[in-house]
Amino acid sequence: MSITSVDTDYDNLTVTLIADFDAPIDQVWELWSDPRKLERWWGPPTYPATFEKHDLSPGGEVTYLMTGPEGDKHYGVWRVTTVGPPTSLEFTDAFADEDRTPIADMPVSTVRVRLTERDAGTRMEMHSKFESREDLEKWLSTGTLEGQQQAVSQMDVLLAA
């Protein structure tokens, strides 16, 4: 199991996760910096992601779409605020319309990632924050998470077997 700790703060609407990977820092960074790798883990199996624009520079934009089981498409845009390869990345993640423009009343979350070399591997600290409960609820209602929990517990079954 790569996850070392998860702290879900219901008051501040944040999830902070620490994961330790048995891989060098450059390889972990590539999971973020290489769009072909990024799209293999960003979306849940039921909503695979395809990344289009991928500009990891301050002020840069990353656009993606997630395709659901009914062929439904959900668009997202990251606005990169901080980037320092191979250790830090900070961006906002917003829902977008077909023109890849963030939708005004849709939720925006802020994601902060820090990578550090640790023992022979890499530690990733991820902090995700929503601005308001309303945002959280809207995000939940988009349905792009359907099957997520199932996928996770299926994985556990496999790992336990």
Partner: protein, 123 residues
């Protein structure tokens, strides 16, 4: 790791919190308004600290939240909203757990490939 819809501990906390008549009364007052802890303390024949403890139990169960406003601590509840926010955050947590699992798989794949290319000499 098992991701339950609502963890048993949370359910236990809620029932424990609601088992006490003072706490049920505090909750009712919070539904009606947003009393401060000190105003709640005046409503019951018990110490400020005792009331504060009751509020803390409700808070742990996710039934109320405290918000500091100036020198006062306001206690508010929106049990439905609290529940939904918790659910959404649990989903967010589950989403990231899934992502980390997939990242881990991808990294393992890379390591396997590197290993096989060094041992067999073929890429």
């Amino acid at each position: 790791m098992v991701v339950d819809e609502v963890p048993t501990e949370v359910v236990d906390e809620v029932f424990r919190a609601l088992a006490d008549p003072t706490r049920r009364d505090i909750l009712r007052r919070c539904v009606a308004g947003e009393p401060s802890v000190s105003r709640l303390a005046q409503a019951y024949p018990m110490s400020f600290a005792a009331v504060q403890k009751h509020v803390a139990v409700l808070e742990r169960a996710g039934l109320v939240t405290k918000e500091r406003r100036g020198r006062e601590q306001l206690v508010r509840t929106d049990a439905g909203a609290v529940g939904r926010a918790r659910h959404a955050l649990d989903e967010l947590e589950a989403a990231w757990r899934g992502r980390v699992d997939r990242m881990s798989d991808l990294l393992a794949e890379g390591t396997e490939r590197a290993k096989s290319s060094t041992t067999s000499g073929a890429g």
